[in-house]
Amino acid sequence: MSGLRDSRVKAAWVQEMAQVITHEGDGEVYKLTLRAPEIARRAVAGQFVEVRPVPGHQAPVDPLLRRPFSLCEIRPEAGEISLIYRVVGRGTRALAALGAGVELDLLGPLGHSFPVPSAGNGRLVLVGGGLGIPPMAAAARWAVSAGRETAAILGARSQRYLAGAAEVAETGVPVTTMTDDGSAGAQGFVTEPLEAMLADGAVGEVWACGPEAMLQAVKVRCASVGVPCFVSVERHMACGFGACIGCTVPKAGAPGFLKTCQDGPVFAAEEVELGGF
């Protein structure tokens, strides 16, 4: 377990001006594809970038801070990365207004990745909920290229919020889809198919990203059958690289905090206290 934890990759990050290649959305959920060759070369699944949500040449005044986004696709050969986000506030609203050709100021790749996948360690199950789905595309790509047997369980409120599911399916891993309202896949929660998969004993590892209540539910189920579980956590961040200490998660079983940006965002589930957010 600590071996897996220690195999999470943490790269040296860079500041890079990234040109918007495509930026598509429905007014709420957007996919942003960027030319960022240096970040694409260094990044692996689970890591994130900090994006200034205004064109790169503007002095930062308002929106002021960068916004952290997990990487959905990483294509080092093309020098491209993509990310998927939902408009939730002033920063994402400003970002959504930017079109192709705009240069954005990025820091990345930041934080720890998922553990390095390797073939023959049992099946890897990826669990993505809502905006936790997009990073599972990069995770699936990484696992498939390592020859790891992989399956994905993706869930959302409704079909509309399954952004990133197509990118996961493109990697060729089998996908089980769950929605709260049954508008896509089966009606229900991601934990239902997860429990079934865990019960058959073939699962060697679970990676999850999504709402914290979902992460907690996945953590509990994995712990009950002794399957290693890694969770990708989300927090407000001021910097993204460890300086502000604003993005902390409580340590499990000990006083004190871990930094989401530096110690995570991917944590071994047993090292963090989930559910407070």
Binding site: Q15, P60, L64, L65, H236, G242, A243, P250
Partner: protein, 348 residues
Amino acid sequence: MGSRLNVELFGRSFKNPVWPASGCFGYGREFAGHLDLSQIGAICVKGTSPEPWLGNSGTRVVETPGGMLNAIGLQNPGIDHFLHVDWPWLQSVGATVIVNIVGRTVEEYVEVARRLEGSGVAAVELNISCPNVKEGGLAFGTSVKGASEVTAAVRQATSLPLIVKLSPNVTNIVDMALAVESAGADAVSVINTLLGMSIDIRKRRPVLGNLFGGLSGPGIKPVALRMVWQVAGAVKIPVIGIGGIMTGEDAVEFLMAGASAVQVGTACFVNPRAPLTIAEEIEAFMEANGYGRVGELVGAARPTAGAEGNLPKLGEAVPLPVAKPPIKKATGETADALRQFLKDSDRA
């Protein structure tokens, strides 16, 4: 960066007047590889206490229009960790370091200052103003008595240059500045964050785990600048200007208001290279406008002695030409509040 940016404060020279503010630069490590730490005028490291502090639970940071709130809770690894791990590393990269000190009691401030005696750090800076920790610096920074006591006690305990970082969350910051000056401070840094809050209307609760947090960023710059102007007009010791500085031009404003150096905080979160970029921008401004050294900028916007004309006395705010207030229309609490406001503005 050229020598024209050199500044001298409390008998010590610094490569430039742009210093990362405490709490925004950790102990420098996160920035290594992104800028040359030895080129920074001075790094004000994270507020450091005798023992490690864990910090606050819940959400610690949130953006606000033109700024951000933080309620970190002064999480820090303690003075032992600094002396055994961070300081040797900072020395190895050639950094000039100012140690910010936090404490719950006068004795705790004194203890950290004592431990730093002879270490070779450039100065200590007392955080008597952090509004985040219930049992922390608030009491010291909000009363003349508390601020004087802790300053005097640390003055007794250290031969290092002593900077006191003032809170803006007081009725009259000039009184605080004068108090710590007479208690032995070698400089004041003006200002720490303004106390604020934010509410999540969907969850119907305050965003920050600590309820209140410190507001920083470009939105507070005019307030900070006004306070620097007031303090610089009242004290004889150097003033270090802080508050929402994002560019070299912002920094020049603070210098012209009377600051001898500035600190940049929130800017470091957005642009890790901010301290050097801002120093370079000051240099470009000096170059373009014929300034030979930083000292020529310091206080340049202030009226010179004998040429005040109708300007107010240095250190005092411009009295507003207040029109006759509509007191008659107001009743009860409103009238009292209005009278108090007018009284306050008379005093300001």
